[in-house]
Symmetry: C2
Subunit: 296 residues, 2 copies
């Protein structure tokens, strides 16, 4: 690879993703809000930059992996941001999960600077980031994706690096992902509540259902967490809460009626109200159990 | 096997299940409301009975596979019903999907006659019945299950013949199954509607999501049906509508709040109102698409 890679945002997801890029031999310049993960990456061979602008000056492909829409705006458009320093012909790959409308806006602003921008949110959680087995949903120009595909392949499952459509469509796909997971997780939770209140072991229900049409990863993975009451994240409720805000904003803008997604959002708001923001989002079951008068 | 098997109800599911029993060498006496499937089974080696009572007189294990609670009551308690003729020490295996409360009531009435009764509803659809790959969720006495396990193994996947708990709990498990499928199917439908209205090919969304936490059999199997608009059953909407009545009756009796299941029921009521009772239940997507102003 002749492309020099920049990486902005070394959090729970970003750090292992950047580490995988180093392992695959990419030249890497990094920055992050907190210093410790920067030091870890530098010890592994990365170069520390002073700011997002500084990353942009030393990189041809700039990856951003930050929590929310305002964070991406700050990193790109803010003081010492990427837009103030990026070179013509570079590519920005935003792998954060943000609002599709913001992705489209930023892609247009990048294009005005002669820069291609992809939205490329991921699915697979911290484990997927560590194991380089993420699914990556890409919106933007197909030729920009082909240019950075080796970089994405180093962080995800190459068979699951999928070009969805134009700018913003990777984010729409990620919103779809969160809707599908939520509907499955909420219905597994309701099913377990029904079983428990009927005096039946939900572990037996899970076992019986895993082989049939009711199978979902939510039943298998989150179902096991629920049975054990193990809500160590994984994927934090407060981030799922943020993502559902994006989902409901998006379906509102599109004038799509999505009542199951809306209900999932209400469940997750109840989780936040119950102080479960730092727990794994499979703790959704706890609010369903509470509502049924069941203990945890 | 020394047990003589009786089979009552040779419909879409019952006929291939009975055929599998014959193939595995069981001695079989059958009856059904309509004559053609009885003739087919007789040509394959079964004996035709005149009534459920007549089946009971010639069988040690009596399997019932009929549409709904009143049908099971009629077959067991009605004139020329099983209860009027069944011998002490026999076992009734009701594989219909009915209300758990009715299963418990009938099991108690059977026990008063010295007869064990299992509720053993199935999942896996017509294909699973044909291929003898059904999941079977069993409620009732464990020793009765062990006695009839070779019979159930001949119709289902032996690894998915699961003892859930006492009488009625097989039906509760089946209700859980229908809740989980419904939540997954409805959220896949809403996700596809969001994608379509955003101008994105839902086939791309399905492809990207299949490898991650959003995976469900609903996304894979029903999602493909939805993409093709192929709603040839499969599993008929009118039967899913019936099952959701059982689900909501059960959560009501248990005082469990299950709003996602309730929403799925409302979607399926809209399908019935739209005249889709004979279509596969994956046509749930059509009412979601209608509500979003999308064509089919």
């Amino acid at each position: 690879m002749s492309d020099r890679i920049g990486f902005i945002g070394l959090g729970l997801m970003g750090k292992p993703m950047a580490q995988n890029l180093l392992k695959k031999g990419f030249s890497l310049t990094v920055t992050s809000r907190s210093r410790p993960p920067v030091d870890i990456l530098v010890q592994a061979g990365a170069t520390a930059a002073l700011s997002p602008a500084d990353v942009a000056r030393h990189s041809d492909v700039i990856i951003t992996m930050v929590p929310d829409s305002p964070d991406v705006r700050a990193v790109l458009e803010g003081p010492d941001g990427v837009f103030g320093a990026i070179g013509h012909g570079s590519v920005i790959v935003d792998m954060s999960t943000i609002a599709p409308a913001v992705s489209r806006d930023l892609a247009a602003k990048a294009a005005a600077r002669g820069v291609q921008m992809l939205d490329a949110p991921v699915s697979g959680g911290e484990i997927g980031a560590i194991n380089a087995s993420l699914s990556i949903m890409v919106g933007g120009d197909a030729d920009a994706l082909e240019r950075v595909r080796p970089v994405l392949n180093a962080m995800g499952n190459p068979e699951r690096v999928v070009h969805i459509g134009p700018a913003g469509s990777g984010q729409v796909c990620k919103a779809c992902n969160q809707v599908c997971i939520g509907g499955a997780l909420a219905s597994v939770s309701e099913a377990f509540a029904m079983a428990r209140k009927a005096g039946i072991d939900p572990a037996k229900v899970r076992e019986a259902l895993l082989g049939g049409f009711a199978y979902s990863r939510a039943l298998e993975v989150h179902g096991e967490r629920i049975l054990k009451g193990n809500y160590v994240p994984g994927f934090k409720t407060k981030l799922y809460h943020k993502d559902l805000g994006i989902v409901m904003q998006t379906v509102h803008e599109l004038a799509v009626s999505a009542p199951v997604a809306a209900l999932v959002q209400q469940y997750v708001s109840a989780m936040m109200a119950a102080g479960r923001g730092e727990d794994d989002y499979s703790a959704l079951a706890t609010v369903v159990f509470d509502a049924a008068g069941l203990d945890q």
